[in-house]
Every structure is written in structure tokens, then in C-alpha cells.
Amino acid sequence: MPRLTPPRAALVAGLLALVVYANAPRNRWALDDVPVIWQNPVAHSVPAAWAARFSPYWPPGQGHQAGLYRPAVIMSFAVDWTLFRGEPRWFHLHNVLLHAIAAALVVLVAVAWLPVYAALGAGVVFAVHPVHVEAVANVVGRAELLAAIGLLVAVLAFRKYRRTDSRRARAGWGAATLAAVALALLSKEHAVVAVVLLALDAWLAPVPGRRPGFGLLLLIASVTLAWYAIWQAIAGPYVELATAPGLRHLSGGQRLATMLPVYLEVLRLLTWPLRLAYDYSPQVVVPRTGLTAVALLGGMAAGAVVALGLLSRRRAPAVAFGILAGLATYAPISNLLLVSGTILGERTLYLFVLAPALTVGWILARAWEGRWRRIVLVGLGALLAVYGARSFTRTPFWQDSRNALIESVVAHPENYRARQELARQRELSGDRRGALADYLVAGALFEHDPSVATTSAALALVIGQERIALREARRAYTLDPGRPAPTAQLVAVYRALGWNDSALAVARAALDGRPRNVSLAATHLELHHALASPEWQRVLARARFEWLSGRPAAATRAFDRAAAALEQAEQLDGLCWEVRAARPMATTLRTEWERVAQGVIRRAGMACGSG
């Protein structure tokens, strides 16, 4: 029997990953695959992907606002598309290969602390762990795979860098570390913790008598800062909009009360991941406004995990690395300090699986020489068989959007997002009444997401359900007062009902709250045209719209026309509001508008007040 060397062990772990995901290439496009790959021309050619290398990850108009920047992932899709003419099975095969590489890398990382057979155990756990199915079997999960590979390669290259004497080889390994970190950063945002991972490795796997590579760590920190500046310029402005709907309405304390029980769920997913879900939106995770016993338990469990990671650093550095590295990669999307776009996603736990994987490896190493060896081996074998079987059976869940959504709704009828997605699919297929019914159910399941109510209202209006439209539009506006979409929807509903004064009041109130919002100015302008308002009002609304659209010359002309029209106007309703609302523009453009308006106010004997 050939001796088990680290490369051979890595190969075995990789092959096992290929076996477990053998059915993945039968999948097609599912959920986010559709807008990000199938419908995205940028992902269809290498030159297009290269030209869009400084563009956000999501295509414009389809989640562009998600605040993501992943050019390496888009480029890999473009390469696949070019080579395999958009055939999804090759994309899936590519994902499986990447997962196999990641599992092999875990073995190579683990041999720093574990005997080869135990490192193989860790790699096998990583290869078959069911929580990985979402990242592997859904093509867009490639972001996780590429980021993980980049980070794991960086750890290995950094070790070589620290162990090498030759100046030239050090430069080479240093460059390799930087390149791997760059790949990870350009694949997924959580790679921002690369420097933490490398520092952890230097701490837990020191090379006796050698320097810890502090200079290279500082260089990687600089590269991370540079990446952050670029990401901020490209995707940063959208981050606020990408907040998970389940957390959007919560205060900091309430967010913690909601997230602490989620950490228990994370622990369950890492240890016993047989029950899986593609989405953990409300009410799969219930938003909390106060501390509960489960939250306390979640807090204690999270604390215990951190303590275990720190305390095991001497006796079980592999376990410490697994836990602390996993925590580091999970921290950016844990919603603890910053709010992310998701409450919990199984794909985001991809590298957190290092914790159970390396723990199993450590147990294996301890048990190998002991008298419980056989029992432990049988137990671990059974666990791996269960994991592998669950991964295999879960993979077809991702065969296409329809299957994923229907299964999700069946498995988690309390998930409003799945219901909302299902409604969208029905709407696209022309079943408007069925779609409205599903939207209303989604809205009833979780009443804090204004997008559901806005969509319901729009659809209800289209199919003539005006009462439902009014109720939903009002609900959306109450949830998110002054935001452009709910405002436009409520205005549209009021217009349809003939309640023009209410429509105007809503449009004005929204502009009062957000006087610089161009969408609200457009709604206000359209309303004045629809209502055939006096000319001075229409032209003044045009001035505001032009000004906010960055066309000051057109705005100035419109102001002058508004002032001229006002001199002749007989209908002066709303003059006080218009004068007040136009003041910021008038201050900037300094036209005759305000002087004329004040003159008309005086002549008409109106009392507008100072507001």
C-alpha cells in the first residue's frame, strides 16, 4: 500500500468531493444564476468581462445596488461561457472542480498541525459537508469557492514565505501570497479578513527561529486598504440599500436580539446540517425586539466557541485555527457590528466549515493511538456517510429556479422571501391573480418589507383590485415613508381612485423629507402634468427635476419661465409650499423666482409663514 503523503491525501479529499457532487452537472440555472450569468451579457465574453472589470457584480437594474464587486468571478463565468457556449453543466462541473481543489487545500493547510491521515479526515469533512451544497451546486456560489481557494493558497504560500531562506524564493512566495489574496478579494468581499487569517496561521503555526513575516502582513493590509478604496468607489454607495430586509427596521439592540439565536442555527448547520434552507429570511428567522432565552443561549454558545478557539491554541492549534479562521471569515456577514445584506446564508459558511473539519481531524489524531480508535473511526465514518448522502440528495434542489422555490415554500412555508420569489415567477408566467395571492401571503408573513407591499399594490392596480391596491400602497408608504418607490405607488393608486389632492399631498410630503431625490421630483413632475396643474407649477416642478438631474442651465430657464407664468397666474393653490420647497434651488441658482413668488404672495394677501 503506498504511503499516505500530504499530496496524496489532498488528492483523495479532492476526488471524494468530485464523487459527492457527481450529480451537480445535471443542474441548470437557478435563482441568482439567471440574472448574474444567463441574462448578463458581461458574463458571456471575456472582452466584455474585461471591459466591465471595474463594474459592480450585479448587472444594472437587477440588483446593481447590492454593493458587491467580484470581477474575478464574472471573468471566470465569461471564460466558461466562451469555452462551453453557455452550457450550464460545464459551469457546474467547474464549480465542483473548484470545490475539490478547496478540499485538497484544506488537507495541505491541516498538515501543519495534524498527522496526514487526520488532515485527510479534515479534508474529507470539508469535501462532503452538506452546508457547502449551496455554494457548489448553485453556479453563483463560485464566489465562495474562488475566495476560499485564494485564502487557503495564501495561507500555504505565506507558510512557504516564512520558511524559506533564499531571498529570491521569499520574494516569489511573497508575490504568490499577494496574488492569492488579490484573487480572494476580487472574488468575494469577506476576503477582507485575509490578513487576519495569515496572522492566525503565523501565530498558530510558527516557524521556530524565523521571523513571522510581519512586513508581508503589513503589505497585505495595504493591498486590502487599496481594494477597499476601489470597492468603495464602485459598490460602496449602494451598501445601505443592500441591508437585509429582516434587519432593516431594527435598532442595534434588536438586531443583536435577532442575530444571537441565529448563531445557534449556525452552530447547528456546522455540526448537524441535515435540515437546509436556501434562505433564512423572516419568518425562518424571526426578527426580535427584545432579549429572549434563546438569544441568551445563542450568545453563550457564541462566546463558548470563541473561548474554545482561544483556549485550544496550545493543545489543539488545528482546532484553534479552524474556529478562529472560521469566525474571521464569518465576522463580516455576522451582522454583529455592521449590517450585511443577508441574515444567514449557507454559502457564507463555506470557510466556517474549517472549524468542524479541523476539529474532526484533531479528534481523529487523538483517537488513532487510543483504545477508542475503532469506535471513533466507525462514528466518524458514519457521520461522513450521512454528510455525503445529504450533500448528494440536496444537490438536485438547485436544478432550476422553479424547483428551488417550490421546494423552499414546501419546506419553509413561513419564509416570506421564498413566497415573494414564487409570486414573481408566477407574475412572469402571466398568472397575475395567483401572483397577487402569493404576494399578499408574503406580506402577511412579514409585514416590514415595503417592496412586497409596493409590488402587491402595483399588481392589484393592474388587475383592478383597487381596495387591495390602496391598502398595500398605504402599508408600503407607512413602512418606508418618503422612499421613491412606495411614494410613486401610493401616488399612482390615489390618481387611479381620483383622489388627486391626496396624491399631491403625498408627493409633496415625500419631497419635504427628501428634497434632493430625483425620483421623487420626477413623480411630482409627472403628477402635475397628469393633473394639468397651472403652468407655473408644472414648469417649477420641471425646474426642480432638471436641477436634481444635474442640468442647471435647463433648471434656470424653467425657473425663469415659472416666474413669468406666475406673474400671469390666477390659480395660486400650493404657492406657499412651492416657494418654500424651491428655496434650496433658488439659493443655489439665484434666479428671479423667489422675488417674483414673494411679490405674488404679498399681492394675493397670503400668509405663508416662515416654514
Binding site: R211, L218, L225, A553, T556
Partner: protein
């Protein structure tokens, strides 16, 4: 993670240059203002020259209607910007890469200054306190927030000093210093003082081989630029020479009198006003003398240890005083060394007894009362970014108006002509033409200006407000019915169509 047997204090001292560089890099990125490129004039020129190079149009001022050759602004910084432009050729989205470049240059400079500071043999605490204070100084943060060549210039001269300021510089170190000084001259013409300082100090210290090598290897770096500038100097029209001609032509316009007038040290006025608190006249000059004295004394005390640095900085400040441009940013960019010299002088005086202690305490009190509140206010309110942001305001109205109101082939006479070109694509010319006379300048007459504009095909004239240099001329042309208003904001920017006389 200290290595075995090395205390954390020693580790910190070893890694201090890298740590400082990382911190400076982060702060410099944070300090970037929300401003338009070109609001400081020079920054726009650098970026348009970079665009010209990146797009294969040569080293020409492509934003100007006459596209004269670039002979005023040295080539190194635009070349580096052009490489970045090629990576991401989409303006203004790619400005973030320029910001990264300048921040990295300032970080590199911080690293080099910290390495060089070890040679000064000052207490470690001085390096830990003075260098972050110098690189956090709000004028420096203002400079790094604008696309100016100063951060790259600072990095190059700091690296040159690291290479040259040694007891026995090897041939390689002398050559490196010479090449870096040559590159510094290609970044800012004032870099010649650093080359001069290197050669002079090495020569005086009897390191004549090193001095010759440094000078000899700087020349080939400079030669292509000198040949280009010489060959193309005539390509810049007289009307544009003040801003776009060679420095030689400008120095010729300024004349000996203009340069000698710098002996009044007026250029240091704004710097001193920022450093010291407001005080009555009789107290002002002794206070200035005290603070300047500390710096000079520090230079004298350090003349043996860092002779190249002392010689270079001395020549640099001398040249800045004579240079016919009253720009205090030339002084701010060498602040780290000025601070180190001041601290070195203060430490030496402190050890010399009671008079020295009193002098140092007084100087420290003056700087603490004058500069410190300004620094704290600037950092807490991002005041360092305000200048660029305020200067951008009129252009935020003017730029979209030019886009909206003028055809693609319009030629616009405007201030900050590079900014307008970058954001609108319209060719431009300066709306204020002048020629230098001594340290001042004379505006060309209205007739001369209009004749030049019309000859060059100017179709529109714009200015940023009543306080703009060109506002009087615009009023004059308006009165003569030569302008058709296109866009005007009361007490703000204006855009007019120009009717040239037949």
C-alpha cells in the same frame, strides 16, 4: 508576534517605518475629498497630460484648443498617471486609482523618512511622535487629496536621501541617489536642489567619487526631457507661456528682480501664519525668529550626521524663496524634515541649560497655541478637504451647463481649463491671459485677449463668479455686446456665447 528573543519594543522599532507607512496610507485614503479633478488647476493639467499619453496623443496639452506641447510640467508624474489611466480608462471613475497612487506615494515617503530618521540618532520617541504628526498635518492631507505631484516628489527625494545620506556611500548607493534625484527633477523641477544638495554634500565630505557618480547618473535620466522641452519650447504661444511655457521662459519673464524679491521670504508667510497664533506686531517677528531659529539650529547640529539632507533642504528652501511662484505647498511638502530639524534643535537647546529650556518651552507653547487648534479642528471637521470641495462648487454648475449648452466641437475660454475639458470633452483656452512681470503679472488687454480667442476659434466664454479673474473682462465684453448669455447664476458662474468681430 515577536520573534524569539526580541522584545516587542525592538520589534516595534524595527517595523516602525512599515507601520507608519501603513497608517499614512490609510489616513491618506480617508482624506480624499469629494472634489472635481482640476479645481487646483495643476491637478487637472497632470491628469490631461496623463490622458494624452495613455491615449497615444503624445505629451501635449490636449485640453487646449491649440494643443501646445507639454514643456512646463515635468513628465514623470503624468507618465505614472498614464499607466494607471491605461488600467482603467474611464474618467472620472478611475480617479480612485489616482487617489490610491498618491496615497501610496505618501506612504512610501513616510517609510523612507522613517528609515532616514534613524540616522539622525534622535530618541525613538521623537520618531514615534513627530513623524505621525508631520504626515497627519492638515496641509499635507490637503495636498494628498488633490492630484498633485508633491507626494511622488516627496517619496523620490526621501528615497534619494536614504540612498545618499551614508557615511561611506557605495557606488550603487550613489548611482541610486542620482537616479532618484533625476526622477525627482522629472517630477518637480525644484528637485534640482536635491540633486545639488547630494552632489554638494558628498563633495564637501570628500566623497567625490560618489558625488560625481550621483550627478553623472542623474543626467541621462533628465536628458530626454531636457531635449524635448528645449525642442518644443517654441510650440507654446506667448499668450499661454505664463502657464504652459518652459520654466526658463517664465523665469526670463520674471526677471532677476522678480526672483530677488523672494529674498523677502514672503513665500514662508502663509506657513508661519498657520504655525503661530495671531499676536501683536512687536511680538510677531521674535516669535517667527524663535521657531525658525530652532529649525536652523537643528540643521546646524545635524549637519554632520545627515549632511546631504541639510544641504538639500537648505538649497530647496532657498530656491523656493526665489521661485517666482508664491505657493506654500512647496514648503508644506518638506514639513517632515522641517519638524525633525525643529525637534533636533529643540532637544539640543534643552540640554544647554535654563535659557535653552525657556526658548524651547516658549516655541512649543507658540506652536501648540497656533497650529494645534487648527490641526484638531481640521481633522475633526475634515477641514483639509474643504478647499478642494469649495473650489469645485461653481464647476458643479458650470460643467453640466457647458455639456448641455454647447456643441461637441465648441471651444470654451474658461478658468481651470483642464477640469472643464476632462468633465465635458470640450476643448478650452484660458479665460484670463497674462504675462509675468517680476513676481506679479499683467493681464493682456481685452483687445489682445479677444483677438487671441477668435484666432484660436473660441466659441464660448465662461467664468466661475464675480470674484473670478476673468469676471471684469466678461463684463466688458458683455457691455460691448460681444457675448450672448447661455447660462448665468446670480453671483455665480456664467456661460456666454462669443460673437467674434468680423
Amino acid at each position: 508576534m515577536p520573534a524569539a528573543g526580541v522584545s516587542w519594543r525592538e520589534q516595534l522599532w524595527r517595523r516602525w517605518p512599515q507601520l507608519l507607512a501603513l497608517g499614512v496610507f490609510g489616513v491618506a485614503l480617508w482624506a480624499q475629498p469629494d472634489a472635481l479633478v482640476g479645481a487646483f488647476f495643476d491637478d487637472g493639467i497632470y491628469v490631461t497630460l496623463a490622458k494624452a499619453l495613455a491615449e497615444g496623443q503624445g505629451y501635449y496639452n490636449i485640453h487646449l484648443a491649440t494643443a501646445p506641447p507639454g514643456v512646463h510640467y515635468p513628465v514623470a508624474y503624468p507618465v505614472v498617471l498614464s499607466l494607471v489611466w491605461r488600467v482603467w480608462p474611464a474618467f472620472p471613475a478611475n480617479v480612485v486609482l489616482f487617489q490610491l497612487l498618491d496615497s501610496a506615494a505618501l506612504a512610501l515617503a513616510a517609510w523612507a523618512v522613517a528609515v532616514h530618521a534613524r540616522r539622525w540618532q534622535l530618541p525613538r520617541a521623537v520618531s514615534y511622535a513627530a513623524l505621525p504628526a508631520a504626515f497627519l498635518a492638515f496641509p499635507l492631507l490637503t495636498i494628498v487629496g488633490v492630484r498633485l505631484s508633491e507626494p511622488m516628489f516627496l517619496a523620490l527625494i526621501a528615497l534619494a536621501l536614504v540612498a545618499a545620506d551614508r557615511d561611506e556611500p557605495s557606488d550603487t548607493e550613489a548611482i541610486t541617489a542620482g537616479v532618484l534625484a533625476g526622477l525627482a527633477i522629472l517630477t518637480r523641477t525644484l528637485g534640482m536642489t536635491v540633486l545639488g544638495g547630494i552632489v554638494l554634500a558628498l563633495w564637501l565630505r570628500k566623497r567625490r567619487r560618489a558625488a560625481v557618480l550621483a550627478g553623472a547618473f542623474a543626467l541621462p535620466v533628465l536628458l530626454p526631457w531636457l531635449v524635448w522641452a528645449r525642442a518644443n519650447a517654441g510650440g507654446v504661444e506667448m499668450e499661454l507661456a505664463a502657464n504652459y511655457g518652459t520654466y526658463l521662459s517664465e523665469l526670463a519673464q520674471a526677471g532677476v528682480g522678480g526672483m530677488a524679491a523672494g529674498g523677502g521670504l514672503a513665500v514662508f508667510g502663509p506657513v508661519v501664519h498657520l504655525l503661530l497664533p495671531a499676536m501683536p506686531g512687536p511680538l510677531w517677528y521674535p516669535a517667527v525668529a524663535l521657531v525658525a531659529g530652532l529649525i536652523v539650529w537643528g540643521g546646524i547640529r545635524m549637519a554632520r550626521r545627515v549632511s546631504v539632507c541639510v544641504a538639500s533642504l537648505g538649497l530647496y528652501l532657498f530656491a523656493v524663496a526665489l521661485w517666482p511662484y508664491a505657493s506654500d505647498r512647496f514648503v508644506w511638502i518638506v514639513l517632515p524634515w522641517l519638524l525633525l530639524f525643529g525637534v533636533a534643535g529643540a532637544l539640543d537647546l534643552w540640554r544647554r541649560g535654563r535659557v535653552g529650556v525657556v526658548a524651547v518651552a516658549l516655541a512649543a507653547t507658540l506652536v501648540a497655541a497656533g497650529y494645534l487648534p487648527r490641526e484638531v479642528t481640521s481633522l475633526s471637521t475634515r477641514g483639509f478637504a474643504l478647499t478642494a470641495e469649495r473650489m469645485s462648487v461653481p464647476f458643479r454648475l458650470l460643467v453640466p451647463s457647458i455639456l448641455q449648452e454647447t456643441p461637441d466641437d465648441a471651444i470654451v475660454a474658461v478658468a481651470d481649463e483642464a477640469l472643464v475639458y476632462l468633465y465635458t470633452g470640450r476643448r478650452t483656452l484660458p479665460n484670463y491671459l497674462f504675462r509675468r512681470r517680476g513676481r506679479n503679472w499683467d493681464r493682456l488687454s481685452s483687445a489682445e485677449t479677444v483677438a487671441y480667442w477668435c484666432g484660436a476659434g473660441v466659441t464660448h466664454v465662461a467664468h466661475t463668479g464675480p470674484a473670478a479673474d476673468a469676471a471684469a473682462l466678461v463684463r466688458e465684453l458683455n457691455a460691448a455686446a460681444m457675448l450672448q448669455p447661455q447660462f448665468a447664476v446670480e453671483a455665480g458662474p456664467e456661460l456666454h456665447r462669443l460673437e467674434c468681430p468680423d
